[in-house]
């Protein structure tokens, strides 16, 4: 049921990838995306595949779970593939009705699908090896300079980590309310779209009320534990770049530079 849904799943582990500073991983993902979108031809794509394979090997995340992560975007993948396959202008190989298969289309479809697949696998690799709380810490620290512009960076990251904390609780609650209403004969599974939307009211109203109540109680509990915003706050885990972080960042730069160079030569 709902409990089986995984959001931003994290696989605890102790690989090099797990030990990297979250900021390093965030920056690496940025570099990876830049490189991926700069790749133009087989050589650069080949390089990127090697890079991804290397990262997967280092992280020891099972490839199967990365592939499973693609399931929700399967439709987008197929859609992108088909569009590019049949509607790219170029040397026609096969023509039927509005479908026009071209040599360029095949090329583009392969590259596009590859790009999206690798984009998703790469970012998932980060969330699989970084606990949500460290990820938030990393974001807060990276975006820290924006505090000078009076942007509420601490508040945003606090909200994000609390949201992450409450996702499982609220999923459990949804499950419970759904069962309770089903026990009173509620029917969530049949009927027209309108009927189904109406059937959600007995689920959503209690869920919202309970979420507000939780928020209220949590706010009081936080204040009672002396929370008064980000000012003067210290941290249990302070982020510190290690040697390995510098090495990883340097390697990322090398990859980006390499892809840029290959691009110049149209490779």
């Amino acid at each position: 049921m709902l409990k089986d849904i995984t959001l931003g799943q994290y696989f605890p582990g102790n690989s090099v990838a797990h030990r990297l500073d979250p900021r390093t991983k965030l920056l690496m993902v940025v570099a990876y995306i830049v490189a991926l979108f700069s790749a133009v031809w087989v050589v650069s794509y080949g390089l990127m595949i090697l890079v991804l394979a290397g990262c997967i090997a280092v992280s020891r995340v099972p490839v199967k779970s990365l592939v499973r992560g693609l399931k929700p975007v399967l439709i987008i993948l197929v859609f992108t593939g088909v569009i590019n396959l049949f509607w790219t202008p170029g040397e026609s190989l096969w023509h039927w009705w509005v479908f026009n298969l071209t040599r360029e289309g095949i090329q583009r479809a392969i590259f596009m699908v590859l790009r999206i697949t690798m984009l998703i696998m790469g970012t998932f690799l980060m969330t699989y090896t970084t606990s949500p709380i460290r990820l938030t810490d990393g974001l807060e620290s990276l975006l820290g300079p924006l505090k000078k512009l009076h942007l509420p960076i601490h508040e945003l990251s606090m909200m994000m980590s609390i949201a992450l904390r409450f996702i499982p609780t609220l999923i459990e609650e949804t499950d419970k309310i759904m069962s309770a209403q089903k026990a009173r004969g509620a029917d969530f599974e049949s009927g027209s779209v309108l009927q189904r939307a109406r059937a959600m009211i007995p689920l959503l109203v209690p869920l919202f009320i309970s979420a507000f109540r939780r928020a209220d109680e949590l706010a009081v509990a936080m204040e009672c534990r002396c929370y008064h915003g980000g000012k003067g706050r210290t941290k249990l885990h302070v982020l510190r770049y290690q040697g390995i972080d510098y090495a990883a960042l340097f390697l990322s730069l090398v990859v980006v530079a390499a892809v840029f160079a290959l691009r110049r030569f149209g490779l």
Partner: protein, 288 residues
């Protein structure tokens, strides 16, 4: 007597085929008889929540069967909703499921889903509210203006209004103060007496089931470990303590007295019983 519900070698395994697979109930057999008030007791994680969600078809067995009046409730999966009207289930902290604008409408949700309308529906709602001790003037109020105890009563009335043949209540008194607890349990007892329907009272308070139930089923480690009248069950005080349940205080006193050589029945579970037993003992002039 024919059981109204028969749990026949029920097994439920969560997350089958994954490394997290776990049996919440394993090979459970249990008969529930028409008109009885069955107490079901077990600590958290004993499988009682999973078991009761099978009785009204919210969960589907991964092994075994649930028979209602002798028929497998999953024989026609399309008609499982009818079972939910006949076997009413009140969840733990049911006040969190309220959603309608008025108390009356919320209580009417179940019977309306059954297809009731107009006067028949209104009668049902009023009757159900009466059973849980809600005064009629509350029916037009918003459920969110009520106190916690009253909200819980509204939620229970919402299930009673379906007039189920079997009413299952999961920890109906959890979190209530002693006065609220006593009055709610009184309401449940008088509902049981007035309608003659079957009631299953799930609890982790021994005192609560001891005072109310005709029969008690004790769950532990995904199975039924003891089942019988309160006298029978509490005569196994040691077994109960071994599965992590605390016997009623009064039973503990009786057990302690027996340990000290007082010739007293240890299957005692109310203050009145122990008082009578001790009075009788004193008349007979028993030494300590």
């Amino acid at each position: 007597m024919e059981p109204i519900i028969r749990v026949d070698h029920l097994t439920h395994t969560y997350g089958q085929g994954t490394p997290f697979c776990r049996s919440a109930v394993k090979d459970v057999c249990l008969d529930i008889y028409p008109g009885e008030l069955l107490g079901m007791i077990g600590h958290t994680g004993s499988g009682k929540s999973t078991l009761i969600q099978h009785l009204n078809g919210l969960l589907k067995p991964t092994g075994g069967k649930i028979l209602f009046h002798g028929r497998d409730i999953w024989a026609e999966p399309g008609r499982i909703r009818d079972i939910r009207f006949k076997v009413g289930l009140v969840f733990q902290y049911p006040e969190y499921q309220l959603f309608e604008e008025t108390v009356g409408k919320d209580i009417a949700f179940g019977p309306r889903n059954m297809g009731l309308e107009g006067d028949a529906l209104r009668e049902r709602v009023e009757e159900a509210a009466g059973f849980v001790g809600l005064s009629p003037d509350l029916l037009d109020k918003s459920p969110f203006e009520l106190s916690g105890g009253q909200k819980r009563r509204v939620a229970i009335a919402g299930v009673i209004a379906m007039m189920p043949e079997v009413l299952i209540l999961d920890e109906p008194s959890a979190g209530l103060d002693p006065a609220g607890r006593d009055s709610l349990l009184n309401n449940i007892r008088s509902y049981h007496a007035a309608t003659g329907s079957t009631v299953v009272l799930v609890s982790h308070s021994m005192d609560e089931v001891a005072e109310n139930a005709d029969r008690i089923a004790v769950l532990a480690d995904a199975g039924v470990v003891l089942c019988g009248t309160p006298r029978e069950v509490f005569s196994h005080g040691e077994t109960l303590e071994a599965v992590g349940l605390t016997v009623p205080q009064v039973t503990k006193v009786a057990m302690e007295l027996r340990r000290r050589g007082v010739a007293i029945d240890s299957a005692i579970y109310t203050v009145e019983d122990l008082r009578r037993a001790l009075d009788a003992l004193r008349e007979g002039g028993a030494p300590c």
